[in-house]
Structure formats: C-alpha cells, structure tokens
Amino acid sequence: MSGSNELSRRDFIKVTTGIVGGLIGVALGLPSVSYLIDPALREGGKDAWISIGKFEDMQIDRPYPFSFTRVQVNGWERTSSSFGGYAVRKSDDPKDLLILNSRCTHLACNVNWSDESDAFLCPCHDAKFSKDGKVLDGPPPRPLDVYDEFRLSEDGQIEIFFKAG
C-alpha cells in the first residue's frame, strides 16, 4: 500500500469518523444554540393605552403618582411587572403635562417624590431628580424618561401609550 495514492484503510476510517462526527456535532450543536437563545429572540408584550388617573385629580405643580401592572406570558408562567411614574401638571391645559417614568435612569430602581427635598429621590444610590426630571445629583447618566404620548379620554382620564419591551 505504501507509495500508492490510494487511501489506506486506517486513514479511511479516520476521515470517515471525523466527517460523521462533525456532521452529528453540527446537526446537534446548531439546534442546541437556537434552543438556548430562543427566549432572547421573542417579542415582548403588546402596546396599549393605559389610564393613569383623572386629570381633575392632578394638582398643578404637584407630582401625581400612578402605577400599573402589565401581565405577560413568559414560558409556562404569567409574569406581572409593575410600572409607575408621576404626572406633573403645569396648567389647565391637559396637553401641558409632563409624565415621568419613575424608573431611575441609573440602575432601574424606583424614584419617589419627596416634598421635603422638593425632588425625586432614588433609594438605591442617592440619585436626585428635579420636578422636571432633570438630574440634580448622583450617578444617573440622563434625565428621567418621559411618557410623551398621552391623551385625555372622554371621561376625563389621562391615558398614556405604553410601548412594550
């Protein structure tokens, strides 16, 4: 056999084992990766208009707290997530509202309005935001997020447009 160009029996076995093994590896490996990352490729929940309170209940220049929960199916379970924020009314015009998301822009804790310090305070890392949501103190990289799509419903409720994800 030596000296000839033909594949020896041993080499044939080696190459065949390598190819078959490689095929099995790919056939199982690719689906496995897809299986692992599948939840990361899913869409979140649905967008919706959510009512946060009566416009007439909101006092001018005094942050009005609101909260709501969204239920989503995650795998084999329904998970409800809470969201919250503050509506700051500026005038009699229902368009003249600033609706802040209470999620701190630093590391996602919930900020609370404090009358005493006239600011939103974050309990986690002492962040401080003004009534307009601007950063006064602490580590946050940007002002509080704003729900900028909102409307006044016929029965006097303020509704915000909630985008999922």
Binding site: L28, P31, S32, S34, Y35, L36, D38, P39, G75, W76, E77
Partner: protein, 219 residues
C-alpha cells in the same frame, strides 16, 4: 507555528502517548458486538448533554413540571429535538448497556484479570436503570405519576424494611412534591456522579488490561 504549539503541549501533556494508548491501542480480532461499550459511553455523553440543556427550561415542582415540559415541546425552538433525543436515548442506552453486558457474559470476558471491570459494569447497569426510573417521573404526567406509584410500591414490598424504603424513596408516605424533587436530584446529580466515577474506573481498567480476545476451543 501550530506544530510548535502542538509540540509544546505534547511535551507537557503527552498527547501522542495518550493517542497511542487510548485510540490506537492494539485490539484482539473482534466484531461489531465489541463496539457496544463505546456506544454506551457515547449515549451517556449524549444523555448528559441533552439533559443539561433540558434543565435550562425544566422545573422540578408539581406546579410547573408538566407545564415546563409542554413548553419545551411546543414553545422553545428545537425543544422537541432535545427532549426527543433524551427520551429515546434513554431507552436506547438501557438496551445498549444490557446487550453490552450480555456480550461480556457470553464471551466470558469477565474472567481474570477483569472481574472488577465486570462488577463495576454491573454497577453501571444498575445505575443506568436508576436513571431510567428517576427520569420517568420528571414529566409529571399521568403515566409518570402512576408508574412511580407502582415502582415505589414494589420497592416497598421488601420484608421488614419495605415501609422504610418506600418512605425514603418518596420522601414520605405519599407521592408528593418531595418525591419529584428528590427524584430530580437523584436524576441530575447523585446517579450521574456515581455513573461518571464508575465509568472512569471502568475505562481505566479496560485501558490497563486491554480487551479480552474471544475464547478459542483450547480455552
């Protein structure tokens, strides 16, 4: 470049020696029945890998076990494939290990100096059956529930200590969340650890003694 890296590693790890002793070792003349040990090892690795992947979504709790299995089958990409391989691989492994055991018995390969290899092999066979028994409960469907009720009841029929065995298996007098949890623990930690350890010794002994040749008329 790669040759240098390989040589550096070889000097320290003995890769060439390993290759010669593990994969290129002399074998007596045999046939396909001699490959069942390797087939068992392959199935063990396959069951291990698919099993690890299943734990990513499976929940061993009576509240969620069934739903999480349904989710694996219908919700997750290729979940049906991973669980299918684990499901059928389990049956195949019991069959392959058992035929491997029969072959060793029929060719009298369990004799000196391989008695320990044989005894450890018996342990491996029992552990494989243990994997089948504990894994059967985990989907927490009707078949699983009643099969385990019956299985543990049979174990409970042992004279004198039967009731203790039954309670120890179930984690109490009834089939409950504790049963599911301890079967899960046994299925993914305890028995696999025993299997891996025994496989290590089994393989060491096979490499040490080499494979037995088929008995001849003189034997």
């Amino acid at each position: 470049m790669w040759k240098k890296v390989y040589e550096w590693l070889d000097e320290r790890l003995g890769l060439n020696d390993m290759y010669t002793n593990l994969l290129d070792r002399p074998e007596p003349k045999g046939n396909w029945w001699n490959t069942l040990g390797s087939a068992s090892l392959f199935l063990f690795v396959l069951q291990g890998l698919t099993g690890i992947f299943l734990t990513v979504y499976y929940t061993p709790s009576p509240d969620h076990a069934y739903d999480s299995v349904q989710y694996i089958m219908e919700g997750v990409a290729f979940g049906w494939l991973i669980r299918g391989i684990h499901h059928w691989g389990a049956t195949l492994m019991v069959i392959v290990v058992f035929i491997h055991l029969l072959r060793v018995f029929i060719t009298a390969s369990f004799k000196f100096p391989r008695e320990l290899t044989w005894l450890i092999g018996i342990g491996l066979f029992l552990a494989t059956l243990g994997m089948g028994f504990t894994g059967y409960l985990l989907p927490w469907n009707q078949k699983a529930y009643w099969a385990t009720t019956v299985g543990t009841q049979i174990a409970g029929s042992v004279p004198f200590i039967g009731e203790f065995i039954l309670k120890a298996l179930r984690g109490g007098p009834d089939l409950s969340a504790l049963t599911l949890q301890r079967f899960f623990s046994a299925h993914i930690w305890i028995i696999p650890a025993v299997l891996a350890g025994l496989i290590g010794v089994h393989l060491f002994l096979i490499i040490k003694h080499g494979e037995s040749h088929f008995p001849t008329k003189e034997d």
